[in-house]
């Protein structure tokens, strides 16, 4: 017997949510590789998932969810190791919605509802979209004289501050009797130069977020993943097409482990740390 619960995908525009979902659906449904979950039976409506999967298979840009529109995917899955069954609702909300949270200080009512009924959140960050707070040098004494001053605007906020704000807001609406499970996915991991582990990358590039997660283990159970849902750049499609199966071009890094199964993120959210 399973009951429907939600896995909420959260992230700023272009952070890789929809591409991840497309690749995940293919891996689960195709059974090309061994995965932590299998699709127990097909859900009645597969149009959205098949649409984004088709784009992913054809090495096309997976269409981003338009602002103001929310797509919802339902996966009926069974955890292979324990036999537990889950109906997972995975709303694919436009990144602009989360962008709006910081800019306009408001949350969609549907997102609040989803959090109330969720296992947890997959939070995406794209390594090439991280805005760092670059400080001015206090030792400079003379103005260049040609300054074009910019007033503060929310869009100038460092990425790590906005991500902390996203999680704080989620905690504000989440059922406080439970710990919020958070899978932090660094997407496009293949673009990370000289990667150590995803944990080290977050500590170096998002130190404020890293501290926040370490300081709030009583409220947030988190795990950091590095994911490449495409396996490389779309311009390398010919090379990527030579992999034995589409599922096998995907990469998921957990600490120093190099895996392929994206459903390990779902496993963490539904069953906790193994």
């Amino acid at each position: 017997m399973s009951s429907e619960q939600t896995v909420v995908l959260v992230g700023l525009p272009g952070s890789g949510k929809t591409t991840f979902l497309a690749a995940l659906w293919h891996q689960l449904e195709s059974e090309e590789i061994q995965t932590a979950f299998t699709t127990d039976r097909l859900q009645p409506d597969r149009e959205y998932l098949n649409g984004i999967r088709d784009a992913w298979l054809a090495f096309k840009e997976v269409p981003h969810t338009s602002a103001g529109i929310e797509q919802s995917a339902l996966l009926r899955v069974r955890h292979v190791q324990t036999g537990k069954k889950f109906d997972l609702a995975i709303p694919d909300v436009a990144g602009e919605t989360y962008k709006r949270q910081w800019l306009e200080r408001q949350l969609p009512g549907t997102y609040i509802h989803q959090l109330h009924h969720s296992f947890g959140v997959i939070l995406f960050v794209h390594p090439e979209q991280v805005l760092h707070p670059a400080l001015l040098d206090g030792a400079v004494r003379d103005s260049t004289g040609s300054e074009a001053l910019h007033e503060w605007e929310p869009a100038l906020t460092p990425t790590q501050v906005r991500l902390v704000d996203l999680i704080q807001s989620a905690l504000g609406v989440f059922d406080r009797s439970h710990v919020l499970r958070l899978a932090l996915v660094v997407s496009a991991w293949d673009l990370v130069e000289s990667p150590a582990t995803p944990e080290v990358w977050v500590e170096r590039h998002l130190p404020l977020l890293d501290q926040f997660l370490r300081a709030n283990t009583g409220r947030v159970m988190s795990k950091i993943f590095g994911a490449s849902a495409i396996g490389g750049s779309l311009t390398e499609s010919e090379m990527l097409a030579r992999t034995p199966t589409p599922s096998s071009r995907v990469r998921l890094h957990i600490s120093s482990e190099n895996l392929r199964d994206l459903s390990r993120t779902i496993e963490f959210l539904t069953l906790g740390e193994s």
């Binding site: 001015l136 300054e147 501290q211 370490r214």
Partner: protein, 301 residues
């Protein structure tokens, strides 16, 4: 689902907290309220900005950043110290005089032995106008009495750049003393409040003679006012140094650790709780009235 189906719920603004809103924070973990007091341009807001920027780079003083209810406010005041502002020289925006009792919030969590598990900091930089008013009148209105008395720590800032000049150093010294004397005589200081003398712009203090003068000033002020506070200490910082002689936010981590340190009780005496059974109604009223005065001195069990 289409656009018209999306209904939005408002979030907290993320701006500085007004004094009436801080009870939401103080009801959670241990909270330390810090007032930073000093004349205009003595560096009050820069101290706060530098602390926030340090956390943006990593843990500070062995403490993790555990969250903030005023992230938007922090971002606003930090902006003019960043390249994104288009400036070539960092500046600090002046505290808004129309909201002199606004607080910035940080939640910090200790990472090692001796540091608190989780603690809230509420930081308010007292405007220069409020500083002058507190020196000059017995009933300040810009920062009301109840807020002064609620403070767990009062940081009196001494401008290191002005201390380095013979024409301005005595203004600094006298200004700090007159504030502290006025606060004492107007009963603005609670018994559990800690005093911190903070000499700012330490990178601009370069001569031995000035260092000596600063030391004498610190001793002079501490000797006069130490007994009015739970404890007293001095710090020397350079929140945004003008040279590479000292690192960014020099001395700020130690100041942060001092802020959240638990005060040492003066006299550990066990006294009856106001709620103890068998106590007369008069005694209960007495303890409720005296509680604020004695709480920093007695272990009330």
């Amino acid at each position: 689902m289409s656009a018209q189906d999306l209904v939005f719920e408002p979030l907290d603004s993320g701006e500085a907290l007004v004094s009436t809103a801080i009870s939401r924070v103080t009801a959670q973990d241990d909270t330390t309220i810090v007032l930073l007091a000093g004349p205009i341009k003595s560096g009050k807001t820069t101290v706060i900005v530098s602390l926030y920027e340090l956390f943006n780079q990593g843990p500070v003083g062995g403490l993790f950043f555990g969250g903030s209810e005023t992230l938007v406010a922090f971002e606003r005041i930090s902006h003019t110290g960043r390249m994104a502002s288009g400036r070539s020289i960092p500046e600090t925006v002046r505290t808004n005089p129309s909201s002199p009792t606004a607080f910035l919030h940080l939640r910090v969590v200790g990472t090692g032995e001796g540091l608190p598990k989780a603690s809230n900091l509420l930081l308010s930089d007292v405007t220069g106008e409020a500083f002058e008013e507190a020196r000059n009148v017995s009933e300040p209105t810009i920062i009301p009495r109840r807020l002064w008395r609620r403070a767990d720590a009062i940081c009196v800032l001494l401008d290191g750049e002005k201390l380095s000049s013979v024409t301005t150093r005595h203004l600094v010294r006298t200004g700090a003393r007159s504030l502290l004397r006025a606060a004492r005589e107007a009963n603005l200081i609670s018994s559990r409040c800690r005093l911190m003398l903070v000499t700012t712009k330490w990178d601009l203090v370069s001569s031995n003679e000035t260092v000596e003068f600063v030391g004498e000033t610190e001793s002079w002020l501490l000797d006069q006012f130490r007994s009015d506070f739970e404890s007293a200490a001095s710090h020397r910082i350079a929140a945004r140094p003008n040279s590479s002689r000292v690192p960014y936010a020099y001395g700020v981590p130690d100041l942060l650790v001092d802020w959240i340190a638990k005060p040492q009780l003066k006299v550990p005496i066990v006294a009856p709780s106001p709620t103890s059974s068998g106590m007369s109604s008069f005694a209960q009223v007495f303890w409720h009235q005296q509680r604020e005065l004695v709480a920093g001195v007695l272990n009330v069990v």
